[in-house]
Amino acid sequence: MKPSTNIKSPGFWRLGEPFVWLTGAAMALVLILAGGMLVVVAGNGLGVFWPARLEQFEMKDKTVLLGAVTQRSAVRNGVAHSRLQVKVGNRDLSGADFRWIDADAVARTSAPPDALLVERREFGDFHGFLVRSATAGGVDGLRADWLRVRAEFAGVAELGKAVSKINDRMEGIRRDLLRLRYRNAPESGSAIRGCLARQAELKVEFDRLVAGQTRSLEGLRRHTATFRDAAGREKEIPLTDIVRFCQPNILGVGGKAGWYLEKVWELFFAEPREANTEGGLFPAIMGTVMMVFLMSLFSFPLGVVTAVYLREYARDGWLVRVVRIAVNNLAGIPSIVYGIFGLGFFIYGVGSGLDRLFFPERLPTPTFGTGGILWASLTLALLTVPVVIVATEEALGAIPAGVRHASLALGATKLQTLLRVLLPMASPGIMTGFILAMARAAGEVAPLMITGVVKLAPAMPLDGNFPFFHVDRKFMHLGFHIYDIGFQSPNVEAAKPMVYVTTLLLLFIVLLMSSSAILLRNRMKKRYTLGSF
């Protein structure tokens, strides 16, 4: 066929094919957006822990910088103009972690093989060269020294745990005393005297331990190594301050992978450092998990019961319509309104009431009358109920009526039918709802911000002290972590890698949960549509 007849073909435009293409373009754009977001998060998040090459820039003005290139910009004010953003580290020496340099101003670039990347407990990374350590033998000697100090340091950390345990016990006694005095127990009575005696005992023990800890720390801090930065300034760093170090320019792929895995391990299981911009996410991960768990306890039963009511018990009528409208409203109310409701109802209403009833001796310091994991979970439970309802209803609705009739015809009561036949059959669908609700709760931030999330929780909701699960405690949360370090951190540029990593982690968790839920649901749909009765 000749192409010319095709172009003149009257059908294409008149039949509206271009519009079909237009809609196709819209769908393509939606897919690109979704994919693009994943690429951005993964691209920025995955590479954070990979030790970057340290490049030495000898500038034309004779200054020397040692750092890793983090960003390149080609254009500024419409003029081609190449600039590099370099992470130079050494915040304590130069004041800023990051520097923008003009590519034109660089005289020579090299990658010195002996450049060291030292991760420190304070002031961020150090980039430079080893001058001397206690043991001769260069970097290997330093490593041997450092490993020895680290092992001793771990012992001191154990001491720290003992100190905090005593601290907890003293806090308990302080509360006992408060309660006793509130109840007007006689000051000279055995109860109060006993408390005071134990308090004094613990204080002695506490002071002894703290003194010992300080002494050993001082001793350990005497082990130092001297480094020099690219400009030649020397810096003495106590070995206890060094978290880890490597020579990225001569490190092999295996070594880099080891470094990477170590950092990932730290991310999952360590406490945050340096105003949350370094270290791990353990408390935030735990906080999120605890909160979601607690929320599930409240949200799931209510959601399933409502769905069962709507699908199995209620007769069609105005009441059902009102319930449906209520469910839809619940699903559509902005999350911040849930938050402010949680603040007004749970915290100031229920929480303050509990305080007045059970903890009057601690007032005006609130126990339940302030944000905490319990109130945050209850607020989110309300927010996620509609998700459970919708999924459960769908699952129950997919069960053919014949199944119910068969069960009832065999003499089972409605409850028996429900418990033994319908719910087991609907369980994959209900699970879907549960998972979706948990995913929603894990990603929600706005209501948590006003019902109990904090940037740095002093203690976790779950610990070894009675009653083990402290529902009145404030907690940390991955989503809030993103907001906090991305937007309220004093050093946004230095915090960015951590934000990307947190984002990647949160997105991974949420997407994993919701995609498995959606897959589960789709599979279940197929099961019933194929095997219809």
Binding site: F12, W21, M27, P334, V337, F341, Y483, I518
Partner: protein, 741 residues
């Protein structure tokens, strides 16, 4: 099975039915409790103020005529100032006199009397002695726990003394203000009302630390009319006067002369000005007239920045029935206390123009004093009885007009709609207009929907009608997973990743909007040329989006690559500068374009999924019939499927609207949160939802701001609830129509 088992089963069944029904209907309860609670928390904003007499009126300490009364912050200790120059302190709950303290060493001397007292700042009194000298004294209260029980201690502090001057005869009205280091200024009105006398004492310290007091006296002639009321601001630098022919005059009081700043005719209907007073903050002047009218005035630059300021009528408050006599000083907020000739006392709020309380004693009230926090008022009536009121006027600054109307705030040149909940100093006027916030919410929603609705609806049409079931089986879950992306992630990426990149490549973004249609048309033309080849046939129907994905990505890349060149060509290399110079618009990094994109991203999956459901729920036989009649697939969709599904599609848009209005984290992170009234796409906004998140941590529980935030939550609740209910009703109708669940 035994009957016992059956019975037990039935019992359980009944119990379960009951429990499940309660649980199911409980959802209505949840929604109702939520609404009721947030309304309940917001309701006190509109509560009626009320005043209760704490103790029955009791007789004031006997003796000389009482010129002034006062009380401490807790309304436990009060005092009276007698004509003999002695303060008598008394316990307000019992009326017992506890101490008698001279106002000045002068007071004890025989024959010395006070001829007049004028109140200045809170518990500060200018005393005119009959020998022509003046004292400025202040009563200071403080709590002491020395005896184990709280005690209120009092002290009379002399702030300044002004010795008698020959030029200033005794009598007449005067006002005195403290200056630095014991200096003072005294403004005294001649009984004729035609001239003011000003005496200013300035204490100077020389290099050796010796203090020296310099005294300057000067006269201010009144240009026209006779002065019937005057007041001096707390700093003693501005003198306001009102005349019998309703003129308002304003002088700047210098060290040795006064400068007349302006005189305006306040009323044209023959009123006399009978009282002047300054509202706390010394910006607004309260004017009372002989017909009982109360209004506030302030100098404004009517013709913009830098033009001369002129007194303008700002607020007119409810009128008294008789002439206004005085405006006692109030230190709490922008409240205004006024006393009429009939002895009635009224409390109003200036900003909200609300009439709060009217107080009257058994006889006309003569001397009144309001406590520091504005919660108690002590008054002396003509029968010599002291009344102590507990004033409860919370949230007086709130009225519907303040929330939704234009209000002329202090230091503003015209009435405005402003949200500014906190200020650096105590005497600032809080500005609580919801309008910028509602506007911000609608602006964000509008821009987001502008981006999301076409995209989501067209995508839904394609997915449900044109593509193959296999593709649909992938795209739909993908979009649902997109819906699960936490908003904090979207907000973070929008603010910290996208916004800086869009800022540098803004021309490329606009270029993309131009290049995209061109690229699309080119692709169509190309497709027409090859559509009958084997390769094209293999791509086939239902996979049109596949070749479009690279086209879109290439178009985007091309736009970004060409952006700098175009920017250089059209905007002299800097679009932001060009925008500012040409259109006068400022470019903020976190602007509405970013919001359109980010919020759109959050809303697209919501609209997409629901619209797709509505479209694919249209019975297949309709589609089959249309196609059988020879309609093309687009014609079928446009004329048959879309009209049938339109209510559902509409419901999807409504739900998307609701989601966008209420979204918090994205707007909190990516808008900049400035409450401005500006529709420009190049700047941000503050939405109702983000406002709650921003302000609630700083709002003290039970305070005005706290309750206002609950009120804005009520607004959000009602808005989304109306939208969702409407959408649910529409979908219900649709379900009935097509007989599907």
């Amino acid at each position: 099975m035994t009957p016992r088992v059956f019975q037990r089963n039935r019992r359980w069944d009944r119990l379960a039915r009951w429990l499940i029904s309660v649980g199911g209907v409980g959802v209505i309860g949840c929604v109702a409790v939520m609404l009721l609670l947030i309304v309940w928390m917001a309701l006190p904003l509109f509560g009626k103020p009320h005043a209760t007499e704490v103790v029955p009126a009791f007789t004031a300490p006997a003796g000389t005529p009482i010129l002034a009364v006062g009380l401490d912050d807790n309304a436990e200790v009060g005092f009276t100032l007698g004509g003999d120059g002695f303060f008598q302190f008394l316990e307000l709950r019992t009326g017992a006199v506890t101490a008698r303290v001279p106002a000045s060493p002068r007071a004890g001397k025989p024959g010395v009397k006070l001829t007049g007292v004028s109140a200045g700042r809170h518990l500060e009194y200018a005393l005119a002695w009959d020998d022509g000298s003046w004292s400025l004294v202040r009563i200071a209260f403080r709590s002491s726990f020395e005896t184990g029980r709280r005690q209120i201690l009092h002290q009379v502090e002399i702030l300044a003394e002004m010795p008698a001057a020959v030029t200033m005869p005794a009598g007449g009205a005067g006002q005195m203000r403290a200056g630095e280091k014991g200096g003072a200024v005294l403004v005294w009105l001649d009984p004729s009302g035609a001239t003011f006398q000003v005496r200013r004492s300035v204490v100077k310290t020389d290099l050796l630390g010796n203090e020296e007091t310099a005294m300057a006296t000067y006269e201010i002639p009144v240009p026209a009319g006779s002065v019937t009321a005057f007041t001096v601001d707390l700093a003693g630098s501005t003198l306001y006067a009102g005349t019998a022919d309703a003129r308002l005059l304003r002088w700047n009081l210098g060290d040795d002369r006064a400068e007349l700043l302006e005189q305006v005719r306040a009323f044209e209907d023959g009123r006399r000005i009978t009282a002047l007073g300054l509202v706390f903050g010394d910006v607004s002047l309260a004017v009372g007239d002989d017909r009982g009218g109360v209004s506030t005035w302030m100098p404004v630059a009517l013709y913009g920045e830098g033009s001369s300021r002129r007194m303008e009528l700002i607020h007119t408050l409810a009128a008294h029935a008789s002439p206004v006599v005085e405006f006692p000083f109030v230190q709490s907020g922008k409240q205004l206390l006024s006393r009429s000739a009939a002895g009635l006392v009224r409390l109003d709020h200036m900003t909200s123009e609300r009439k709060l309380l009217t107080l009257q004693g058994s006889q006309s009230l003569d001397a009144i004093n309001i406590s520091n926090r504005g919660d108690h008022l002590l008054a002396l009536d003509r029968n010599g009885l002291l009344h102590l009121w507990d004033l409860d006027a919370p949230h007086a600054e709130i009225s519907w007009k303040v929330l939704f109307g234009k209000v002329w705030y202090e230091n503003y040149d015209r009435p405005a709609l402003v949200w500014q909940s906190s200020a650096a100093n105590d005497d600032a006027e809080p500005k609580f207009s919801f309008v910028p916030l509602i506007f911000g919410s609608l602006k964000a929603t509008f821009y987001a929907l502008f981006f999301a609705v076409p995209l989501a609806l067209m995508g839904a049409i394609y997915t449900s009608q044109f593509t193959t079931p296999e593709v649909r089986g992938v795209v739909k879950p993908a979009v649902e997973i997109m819906a699960a992306v936490p908003s904090v992630v979207i907000g973070f990426l929008a603010a910290l990743w996208l916004a800086p990149r869009v800022e540098t490549a803004i021309t490329g973004v606009f270029l993309f909007a131009l290049i995209l249609p061109v690229a699309f048309l080119l692709t169509l033309a190309l497709w027409m040329a090859i559509r009958n080849t084997r390769l094209a046939k293999r791509v086939g129907r239902g996979f049109e989006f596949l070749p479009l994905i690279p086209v879109l990505i290439l178009a985007g890349a091309a736009a970004l690559a060409l952006g700098p060149a175009v920017e250089k060509l059209l905007f002299a290399g800097d679009f932001k500068l060009w925008l500012f110079h040409t259109a006068g618009l400022r470019y903020d990094q976190r602007n509405s374009l970013i919001i359109a994109f980010a919020l759109g991203f959050a809303v697209v999956p919501v609209i997409f999924t629901m619209a797709e459901d509505a479209l694919s729920n249209v019975p297949n036989n309709l589609k089959a019939a249309s196609l059988a009649l020879g309609a093309s697939r687009w014609q079928t969709v446009w004329r048959v499927i879309l009209p049938s599904a339109s209510p559902g599609v509409f419901a999807a848009v409504i739900i998307g609207f609701g989601r966008a209005v209420g979204e918090t984290m994205i707007v909190l992170m990516a808008t900049g949160n400035t409450p401005i009234l500006d529709a420009s796409p190049f700047n941000g906004m503050r939405t109702l939802s983000a406002n709650i998140a921003v302000e609630i941590p700083e709002a003290p529980a039970g305070g005005t701001l706290f309750r206002l935030l609950f009120l804005s939550a009520v607004l959000l609740f009602l808005l989304t609830s109306v939208l969702n209910t409407a959408a649910e009703l529409i979908r219900h109708r649709l379900r009935k129509k097509y007989g599907q669940f």
